[in-house]
């Protein structure tokens, strides 16, 4: 009887080791994403769900809406053909790269700047948007530019490069990293910080919804947004880049820019149009 116990233990541990080894050698992310997507006729995009104008889940019908959503749909149609479906998965600044790495999503289109540090981990498509970091403050605040932030408390979201930028430009600013931008704004509103910082398009969306707040000081960085793609997915990256080029060439891109950013006060949409 005792012998039997040992054998069972041995087999169980062997199975466990095999399973773990299996995990190591053939992760979901190392499969060919483009072929999988062509088979299912679907591209799964990681998108933001809490950013007005860019990617927001409409509470009324539960649908994602925004510039990045429309762009993702347009690119999907170019890559997979007219009947191609775009499936959306909500991500945050913090969760997007892990979700891409473990194969939950095929591509990230979620206000992600192309950065050298990120390029070590994932690949980027060509840039699809040029944003820049800015500051949001309460109207009547004494903060006029990024220099005034020294000694002040600034809120932002964890996992965005805005935090590192601020620490370089205004080293004496105290930065609070909250789970997402909505909470960073709520923290600003309840007086936990004097300003909020991130990319201007994100702040523009927040300023539209919160009339008591405004952008100040213009942009102090350039943040080219790119579509995040897993390493080793050369075919998929090529297809996405080709799709993006076609979307820009046939005028769809500019139409989408006009649709979403045409009427935002303090935001010059002409700067981001593509020819």
């Amino acid at each position: 009887m005792k012998k039997f116990k040992y054998v069972t233990l041995l087999i169980t541990s062997l199975l466990l080791v095999l399973t773990l080894a299996g995990c190591g050698s053939q992760p979901l992310s190392s499969q060919n994403v483009l072929e999988n997507d062509k088979q299912t006729n679907t591209i799964t995009w990681g998108v933001k769900a809490d950013q007005k104008l860019i990617g927001l889940i409409d509470v009324k019908d539960g649908q994602e809406k925004g510039f990045e959503i429309d762009l993702a749909k347009a690119i999907t149609k170019k890559v997979l053909g007219k009947n191609g479906k775009a499936k959306f998965v909500t991500v945050t600044s913090q969760s997007r790269i892990p979700l891409l790495k473990n194969g939950n999503i095929d591509a990230i289109i979620a206000t992600m700047s192309i950065l050298p540090d990120r390029k070590k981990v994932i690949d980027f498509s060509d840039s699809y948007f040029s944003a820049g970091q800015s500051i949001l403050v309460k109207k009547g605040s004494s903060i006029k530019s990024v220099k005034d932030l020294n000694g002040k408390t600034v809120t932002s979201a964890v996992g965005s490069n805005s935090v590192e930028n601020i620490q370089k430009i205004a080293p004496k600013a105290r930065v609070l990293q909250l789970p997402d931008f909505a909470q960073a704004l709520t923290a600003l509103k309840s007086g936990q910080g004097e300003a909020m910082t991130t990319d201007n398009v994100i702040l523009a969306g927040l300023a539209v919804e919160n009339p008591g707040y405004k952008l100040v000081g213009g942009t102090f960085t350039t943040e080219p947004y790119g579509i995040g793609i897993n390493k080793g997915q050369g075919d998929f990256k090529k297809a996405i880049n080709k799709g993006l080029k076609e979307v820009i060439a046939d005028g769809t891109y500019n139409k989408l820019i006009m649709k979403w950013f045409g009427n935002v006060p303090g935001f010059n949409y002409k700067e981001v149009l593509r020819k």
Binding site: I97, T155, V163, E164, Q177, A187, G191, Q192
Partner: protein, 212 residues
């Protein structure tokens, strides 16, 4: 993983420090507040029992995150400015105190009613009987469940990450999202939590053996 630990050592250690501090403060106050409400719940006066019950039922049944967010976002708006660390620790204290109150009450209830009656017959007041006769016996009985509460408290302190409380989880999130070494970072964070919780676990076991 060693490199990750070395590179971010100061961040991990400061996070560890804030987590320990928050846990100790919350543990101390929740034990006091919890015991007080436990006594309220078994007092002869009906009003006291109702007050005790209301407190326990409210704070035991609201998620910790909601209580914490209330202190972080709502209280500064209307009452007084408190930072994330304080808000998180207050939330943690209130939430845990409700559970400790229930635990201690069950301990008091399991002490034979004759003990209280006999003490009162000796001329002791209710509070004297509680202090010298009932509570010492009750605490001995509830050491194992109290240990559970303490361990839960340490783990729940990760709520501070949501209100920028600079604790272990907050630093972990920040490190994971800048180094992209998600797996390794959270393993290190997990080990740091074990460094706090395992000694508590062993100490409670030791206490249980010694007193029981």
């Amino acid at each position: 993983m060693i490199k990750l630990l070395v590179d971010n050592w100061s961040a991990f250690i400061s996070g560890f420090g804030w987590t320990v501090l928050s846990s100790i403060v919350a543990l101390f106050f929740s034990l006091i507040i919890g015991s007080l409400f436990a006594i309220l719940e078994v007092m002869p006066s009906k009003t006291a029992r109702v007050i005790g019950n209301i407190y326990v039922e409210i704070f035991r049944n609201i998620p910790l995150l909601v209580i914490t967010m209330f202190f972080y976002l709502v209280i500064p708006l209307y009452v007084v400015k408190i930072n994330g660390f304080t808000a998180g620790t207050i939330g943690l204290t209130i939430y845990t105190s409700a559970f400790i109150a229930e635990t201690v009450r069950s301990g008091i209830n399991s002490v034979d009613i004759g003990q209280m009656e006999a003490s009162r017959a000796q001329g002791m007041t209710f509070w004297q009987a509680m202090r010298y006769i009932v509570l010492p016996q009750a605490f001995k009985l509830v050491i194992p469940p109290l240990g559970n509460q303490f361990i839960n408290l340490v783990k729940n302190s990760s709520v501070l990450a949501f209100v920028a409380g600079f604790d272990l989880m907050y630093q972990g999130n920040a490190i994971a999202s800048t180094t992209f070494e998600t797996v390794n970072t959270y393993i290190v964070v997990g080990v740091f939590y074990l460094v706090i919780t395992l000694p508590i676990s062993y100490y409670m076991q030791h206490l249980e053996r010694k007193l029981a």
